[in-house]
């Protein structure tokens, strides 16, 4: 049973996103937030350009496993041109999904490809690293 989930977790789409370098770059003079998974040493820096409450540009740098890298690049692609309020709502639904709770499929959209992540509790933090960093960037005390 779990093996089917594993196939989905390492699907071609996710593998492609993990290798996708489109959003993997630094933006100068952008809002910045850093996230870390202390147990595995994964690190991510998120760069955000917000104008008129709209995310104009969003990128990341850092290193990590396939799940964390794919999650980050999918997140960047999805949030580009979303408002900050929308991004916050999406974040809440993503966290619900990662915990195996009911979530708003419409809001989560294509990220639903990760809906099996709650079946792999040891990997949940790989998936959510980029999202928690986003929350820091939007709502935390920024660098």
């Amino acid at each position: 049973m779990v093996e089917i989930g594993l196939e989905e977790l390492y699907s071609d789409i996710i593998l492609d996103y993990a290798k996708n370098e489109r959003y993997k770059k630094e933006i100068k003079n952008a809002k910045k937030a850093e996230g870390k998974n202390l147990s595995c040493g994964d690190e991510i820096t998120l760069y955000l350009k917000v104008e008129d409450n709209i995310i104009k540009e969003i990128t990341f740098t850092g290193h990590g496993c396939i799940i964390s890298q794919a999650s980050a690049s999918m997140m960047c692609e999805y949030l580009e041109r979303k408002t900050v309020d929308e991004a916050n709502k999406i974040f809440q639904e993503i966290i619900k999904m990662s915990q195996g709770k009911e979530f708003d499929k419409e809001l989560v959209d294509g990220i639903e490809i990760f809906s099996d992540i709650s079946k792999f509790p040891m990997r949940t933090k790989c998936f959510t690293l980029a999202w928690h960093t986003l929350d820091e960037a939007l709502n935390g005390e920024n660098v």
């Binding site: 390492y10 147990s39 595995c40 040493g41 290193h63 396939i66 799940i67 990997r123």
Partner: protein
């Protein structure tokens, strides 16, 4: 050594299936599986004899005290120490923190003295020294192990006439490199008799015979749960002369002699360092674990682990998509670190588990300075114990090929 069927009876977890595959447990450097006999001993003590130790005079209290002190004697005998020199702690980490804090606060280390440690250390033998040196304004020196491989003569070059304390692991928890601690101690003693030598035995003690008198170290720290015992119990061995000089790390019940508003005097060894109600269950479990290890023979365990490690090194080197770290020779024992080129260790460990039932560790293994020497942030780590066999290594290699096919 016993057969795999016999080990399955001793360690019930070995009968488990993971996603339909037989569990192959290769994460022994993190913690070892539990023998039923150890848990039975803990249960028998807790259900029938449990009371607080060294305090009351009733029957149960006397029995509990007997169990606890018998466990101490068993540990002392196991490492050839005196019972008074064996202090029960929470684990190797607490043992090392106790030594670091206590030698600093007792002025055994003074501001001009140098502490020497290496970059191959587990964080438990790195961070306490670094922090203590900050708090007490002591000097600390780091030996950088080139490519993560410890070199004795290189290390000794860092010893100066100010070196007062050396703390070193006996076996790297990442590369499995066996550090020639006995030779190191002799050479340090030749340089200066009074250098305090601390040995982190967390990985070594479970895998080989250790004789502290013969080794002539001043302190040895290890954990129960890496040698078939329960979690939450560990040992600090210290030479009596130092333990007597040292101020206690924790203050409270049981560790005192006389207490008044004028001041407090402390109990004798080892109680001086065991404040509060101790982990008697853990001590009982550790004693039973030592019995099991002794019945198999520490020499036999060492031979078995060495041979299995050499076999695994040979097999892993045949996989050209792997990068193996460490010396990769007969100085390696029970632990091997590697990476699949271009693949994050978390992905490898997860897929190995789900596709083949092989349990390995991935991450920085609480040894970030060593990861830096390797030029990486994380590795895959396999670690063997007495119940592992060559077939487990073969399954690991088949599994790694599957993972590589999946992700390349």
């Amino acid at each position: 050594m016993l057969s795999s069927k016999e080990y399955e009876e001793i360690f019930p977890a070995l009968k488990r299936k993971i996603n339909g595959h037989k569990l192959i447990y290769l994460d022994n450097a993190a913690t070892t599986l539990r023998p039923k006999e150890v848990m039975d001993a803990v249960n028998e003590y807790s259900l029938n004899h449990h009371a607080n130790v060294h305090r009351s005079t009733h029957t149960l209290a006397a029995e509990a005290t007997q169990y606890y002190e018998d466990a101490r004697s068993k540990v002392a005998n196991f490492i050839n120490a005196e019972a008074k020199e064996v202090i029960f702690t929470k684990g190797a980490t607490e043992s090392l923190n106790l030594i670091a804090y206590s030698v600093a606060v007792s002025n055994i280390l003074q501001s001009d003295d140098e502490i020497l440690i290496s970059t191959i250390e587990h964080h438990a033998n790195f961070v306490p020294w670094q922090q203590i040196s900050k708090i007490f304004n002591l000097k600390i020196k780091y030996y950088s192990a080139k490519n993560g491989i410890f070199d004795l003569s290189d290390f000794l070059k860092h010893v100066t006439n100010k070196t007062k304390l050396v703390s070193i692991t006996a076996l790297s928890n990442v590369t499995g490199q066996l550090i020639p601690v006995n030779t190191l101690v002799k050479q340090l003693r030749n340089i200066r008799q009074d250098i305090i030598i601390v040995v982190d035995g967390a990985q070594a003690v479970p895998h080989m015979p250790i004789d502290v008198k013969n080794m002539d170290c001043d302190f040895l720290a290890f954990s129960g749960h890496k040698m078939l015992g329960p979690t939450g119990i560990g040992v600090l061995y210290g030479k009596r002369k130092y333990l007597n000089m040292m101020t206690p790390f924790l203050f409270g019940g049981e560790m005192i002699d006389k207490v008044s508003t004028d001041g407090t005097t402390f109990n004798v060894l080892p109680y001086k360092f065991e404040a509060g109600t101790p982990n008697v269950d853990g001590a009982v479990g550790l004693a039973k674990a030592i019995e099991i290890l002794e019945s198999i023979g520490m020499d036999n365990i060492q031979d078995h682990d060495k041979q299995l490690t050499l076999y695994a090194l040979k097999k892993l080197k045949e996989l050209d998509f792997l990068e193996v770290f460490g010396p990769q020779d007969e100085t390696q024992q029970s632990i091997i670190s590697f990476n699949i080129k271009g693949v994050h260790p978390h992905d490898v460990a997860h897929l190995l588990n789900d596709l083949t039932g092989v349990a390995i560790r991935s991450g920085h293994h609480c040894a970030q300075p060593l990861m830096k020497e390797f030029g990486t942030t994380a590795t895959c780590r396999v670690s063997f114990y007495l119940y592992n066999e060559e077939e487990d290594v073969d399954k690991l290699c088949e599994g790694l090929k599957k993972v590589w096919e999946w992700l390349k």
